[in-house]
């Protein structure tokens, strides 16, 4: 039974991984691609790791798996945030369908962030 | 060096006197050996030096070496005495005296050495000290040039000489000179005889300035006159002659020996005497006459007859006496009048009477007038020449011509300045102080004394020398002023007539010679061209290999790698290769492909970020390999390091410009493929046979029971091979400190 659960989780995780990667290829601009990679990737990873927790079943493995997932949950969004921020501040061209409400956002961000970074030196 | 003798004739104090005393002591010491040697005995002194190479500090005093020793130490004493006044007050006199004394000692060592290698040591020491002495006026460019020339030419010969000595030692199985001579004629039959001879002669001919290696000697006159007197008349240049004489018993008697020495000697003698007459500078003229003497001595050594050997021994002494004397006289004239040009000299006889007498005595000996030793020498020369086995006429003719020219030169150098004309205006010459005329007078007088009492010389030196040369007592010929009316006497008379004629016509002759010699290629200007060519070639070659371009260096290095491996492969043939693809899973293939794809992306991309990302992909691919093939520790480390690499590159790249577009270079591509293919091929061959797992099995067996660790990799790192790990962390520390230092000096460097 655990094997079946694990198998399902693994296959599901694998499918999500593929979907995430597909999103990475298919989606029209970088921010949208990040949606695909950050969350779906995390989800896929979590599912597969959960699968392995099921297979091993021992508490230390489960704790370890939980730790891994927590670490990813902690770090992945921070990375995504950094990337997103840099997308805005470097003025990467976005998809035509973007409907942002802030007009000169990138200028503002550059002024706000990078200035401080450089000046802090 | 214009304008009078030094104000003070007190010389250079203790620095000046000590060497004289030392030299005199040495002379006295050698003189005390005369009775022993005259009794045809030898004195030996042997101290072990390098037993493992069979090299000894072996010294031998026999007739030949004692003759040389006495000449060296005796003339050395007088020259040092002379120099003390000649260079009185010179700021570098101490160095001068040191070098001159060192030279003298080296020269003594050379003639006393009874070991080939020891001999060579002293041989090179004379080269070195003479280099220092020729370049004594080191602030003059000419001195430096001529010193280098002398060093280079004799040094080149010296190296050939060394090769010859080594071969000689190998052929005879000993480095002992006595030992070699004792082997008798075995050497002459040895297969290596000819190469040995050629190499040895290369050394002796250059050192003794035989044509065509003669050009350095006149240039060496850049040295102060006492040096010329000592080195280039009496001693150093005779080192070559000495060695030929020393090896005479072991090596002479073959056709090669005979003809080589005869031809080189004869040509040198004639050529040099012509050149001597051509000179207007007294010192230069004397320098060429030295060449003539060296040629003559070589010529004699070519022979085997007792006449030739006796003539050699006698002429050796004669020449040393008069030539040293004349050089010293020229030094006096030079200091007194400020010039050495014959045309600007005259009438010095009344003002410098003692010097004039010395000059006259020496010149008469040189010209070969009776009753001077020079006359006896000349007679023996002719006798020796006529005793030459083949072509005696040619040899005698050469001797005649050179002797006549010698007479003319003697007139020009030692007669004219004193006894003809008047002192040119503007000169106010004085008699030399006694320290400076003592030497010439003593040496010149000895020429007369020995001429009148030849037996003195005969018994004490000539006979023992000839015995050294021939090994037989019976070969010694009598030294006598009157040997009866014979062919040598007739030749002597002819010499006088011809010589006086040459003297009378020397100005016209000089003009003729001038024209003739400008037509002959001059090796001296050739020297400068040689050096330029050498430098030019060196520059060209260096530009070629060391062109300052890193890409060339890298290309060369990688080319060496590829060529080294592939050519070796051609030599060895293909190593055993077994390809087993049965256990390859699709996973493995995809990981490999991913890694390759990453590498190719890094290769082709013009975007820095794509490049870094590509490296990241390669890193990930390799980490996956480590994971799949059971190396979790390595995988973790790989991933951590990869992350840090990206971080560092990202920091540094902020200041670097974008990548330029890469141009495709076919030669680079071919080389890269060759290197890559070689590595692949070797690795495939390596993994084609099974691996001996002794070490790993030991680690597996002992890791837990003995090293208390379950992670074998970690146990290897911190226990089995902890020293590696220690070195490794040292690398990490040093890398950090080095990079830190490099970064921190930025500001300092930029501010400059």
């Amino acid at each position: 039974m655990t094997d079946v659960t694990a198998g399902v989780l693994i296959v599901l995780g694998g499918l999500f991984a593929v979907i995430g990667a597909l999103g990475l290829i298919r989606m029209p601009d970088v921010l949208i691609r990040m949606h695909a990679s950050t969350k779906i990737g995390t989800l896929a990873c979590g599912l597969i790791l959960a699968g392995s927790a099921f297979v091993f079943g021992s508490p230390d493995i489960i704790i370890r798996v939980i730790a891994i997932v927590l670490f990813i949950l902690l770090t992945a969004p921070i990375g995504a945030h950094m990337m997103g921020r840099s997308v805005l501040s470097t003025g990467v061209p976005l998809w035509k369908n973007e409907t942002s409400e802030t007009g000169n956002l990138d200028e503002k961000l550059i002024a706000e962030h990078t200035d401080a970074t450089i000046q802090s030196k | 060096m214009a304008g009078g003798f030094p104000k003070t004739v007190r010389g250079n104090g203790l620095t000046g006197i000590l060497p004289v005393g030392l030299a005199a002591l040495l002379f006295a010491w050698f003189a005390s050996m005369l009775p022993t040697i005259a009794a045809t005995e030898v004195i030996r002194l042997t101290i072990p030096w390098i037993p493992s190479l069979g090299i000894e500090l072996a010294f031998l005093v026999d007739g030949l070496s004692l003759t040389f020793s006495l000449l060296i130490s005796g003339i050395g004493t007088l020259v040092l005495l002379y120099s003390n006044t000649y260079l009185a007050g010179h700021p570098q006199y101490a160095r001068f005296a040191l070098f001159l004394t060192a030279f003298m000692v080296s020269m003594l060592g050379l003639v006393l050495a009874d070991d080939l290698i020891l001999l060579f040591v002293f041989w090179e020491l004379t080269t070195l000290t003479s280099y220092m002495l020729i370049g004594f006026s080191h602030e003059a460019k000419k001195s430096r040039r001529n010193a280098l020339q002398a060093l280079f030419v004799t040094g080149a010969g010296g190296l050939a000489f060394l090769a010859g000595l080594i071969l000689l030692a190998a052929a005879t199985g000993t480095t002992s000179i006595s030992g070699i001579i004792a082997q008798g004629s075995a050497l002459k039959e040895h297969a290596m005889y000819l190469p040995i001879l050629i190499l040895l002669l290369a050394g002796t001919f250059t050192k003794s300035a035989q044509v065509p290696f003669h050009f350095w000697l006149p240039n060496a006159m850049a040295a102060p006159t006492p040096v010329s007197a000592f080195l280039h008349s009496a001693t150093m240049v005779k080192a070559g002659v000495y060695v030929m004489a020393r090896m005479h018993p072991a090596m002479s008697g073959t056709d090669v020996w005979l003809w080589t020495l005869t031809i080189f000697g004869a040509v040198t003698a004639v050529f040099a005497s012509l050149l001597a007459l051509r000179q207007t500078d007294l010192k230069q003229a004397l320098a060429y006459t030295t060449l003539m003497a060296l040629g003559t001595l070589t010529l004699f050594l070519g022979q085997e007859s007792g006449y030739a050997m006796t003539a050699f021994a006698t002429f050796l002494i004669v020449h040393s006496l008069y030539k040293a004397s004349l050089f010293l006289v020229v030094g006096c004239i030079d200091l007194s009048t400020g010039t050495r040009e014959t045309d600007q000299l005259g009438g010095l006889g009344r003002i410098m009477p003692i010097t004039a007498v010395a000059a006259a005595l020496a010149a008469l000996s040189m010209a070969g007038f009776p009753p001077f030793l020079g006359f006896i020498g000349k007679e023996l020369k002719y006798a020796g020449a006529l005793a030459v086995a083949s072509e005696p006429v040619l040899v005698a003719g050469a001797a005649l011509l050179s002797n006549a020219l010698m007479l003319a030169v003697a007139g020009v150098v030692a007669f004219r300045p004193f006894w003809r004309g008047t002192v040119p205006s503007g000169q106010s010459p004085q008699e030399a102080p006694w320290q400076m005329w003592a030497g010439p007078i003593i040496l010149a007088s000895l020429g007369a004394v020995f001429g009148i009492y030849p037996d003195l010389l005969q018994v004490a030196l000539v006979a023992p020398t000839v015995i050294s040369l021939t090994g037989e007592v019976g070969e010694v010929k009598e030294l006598q002023l009157w040997a009866g009316f014979n062919i040598p006497l007739i030749l002597s008379i002819a010499t006088f007539v011809l010589g006086l004629l040459f003297y009378a016509r020397h100005v016209q002759l000089r003009g003729m010679l001038e024209r003739a010699f400008t037509a002959i290629p001059n090796l001296d200007t050739g020297w400068d061209r040689f050096l330029d060519r050498l430098k030019g070639f060196a520059k060209w070659q260096t530009q070629l290999v060391q062109n300052g371009k890193l890409t060339s260096y890298l290309f060369g290095t990688f080319l060496t790698i590829a060529a080294g491996i592939l050519l070796t492969l051609v030599y060895t043939g293909m190593p055993m290769i077994a390809v087993d693809l049965s256990d390859v899973e699709w996973k493995h293939t995809s990981i490999a492909l991913l890694t390759i794809a990453g590498a190719l992306l890094a290769l082709v991309t013009n975007s820095r970020i794509a490049g870094i990302a590509a490296l990241g992909v390669v890193g990930i691919g390799i980490a996956m390999i480590f994971i799949v093939f059971s190396a979790p520790d390595v995988a973790i480390t790989q991933l951590l390091v990869e992350t840090l690499v990206v971080v560092l590159v990202a920091v540094v790249m902020l200041r670097l410009p974008s990548l330029p577009k890469a141009e495709f270079r076919l030669n680079h591509a071919l080389l890269s493929v060759a290197v890559g293919a070689s590595v692949s091929l070797i690795l495939i061959a390596v993994v084609s046979s099974p691996l001996d797992l002794r070490l790993t099995e030991y680690f597996e067996a002992t890791s837990w029971p003995e090293a208390y660790g379950r992670n074998i990799v970690n146990v290897i790192l911190v226990d089995f091979r902890a020293l590696d790990t220690f070195g490794e962390i040292a690398v990490v520390v040093i890398a950090a400190l080095s990079a830190y230092a490099l970064l921190r000096t930025t500001r300092k460097g930029d501010q400059k």
């Binding site: 706000e112 | 208390y708 911190v718």
Partner: protein, 139 residues
């Protein structure tokens, strides 16, 4: 880097990485890990700190100059090797002390090998930070 999110995240992550790095180091003898991996991980924590809050803050937090840490690490590693001299063993011979050892259980192992690994940890940690801090400051 002037990001609130990163700064706050770093607050947790840096500590987590440090603790995690000690863990990786200590377990290294029996499980994947060890001084290198520990040191690298620990350094990563401070690298993150430096990126998020600037090197001044990171240096202040570290209190000791990183190069001093590195060189002390080297000294400690060397000392761990030299320790064997006291027992007449060769350089880098592991010296073990099992606290509370019984028949079945080896107890709590203390060893020169562990000290060595700590040295390795400190070297890697200190060296990387030396490098990264200096680069951050100079570039």
């Amino acid at each position: 880097m002037n990001s609130v999110i990163l700064r706050v995240g770093t607050r947790y992550l840096a500590g987590l990485l440090l603790v995690f790095s000690f863990y990786m180091m200590l377990r290294g003898h029996n499980e994947p890990g060890g001084g290198f991996i520990g040191g690298l991980t620990g350094a990563t924590g401070f690298v993150l700190y430096a990126i998020a809050c600037g090197t001044q803050d990171a240096r202040a937090a570290l209190r000791v100059m990183p190069q001093t840490i590195a060189i002390w690490g080297l000294g400690i590693a060397l000392a761990a090797g030299l320790f064997a001299a006291l027992f007449g063993d060769a350089l880098f011979t592991g010296q073990w002390l099992f606290i509370g050892a019984t028949e079945d259980d080896k107890g709590l192992p203390l060893s020169s090998v562990l000290v060595f690994d700590i040295g390795v940890y400190l070297v890697v940690f200190g060296s990387i930070l030396t490098l990264v801090f200096a680069m951050e400051e100079e570039i």
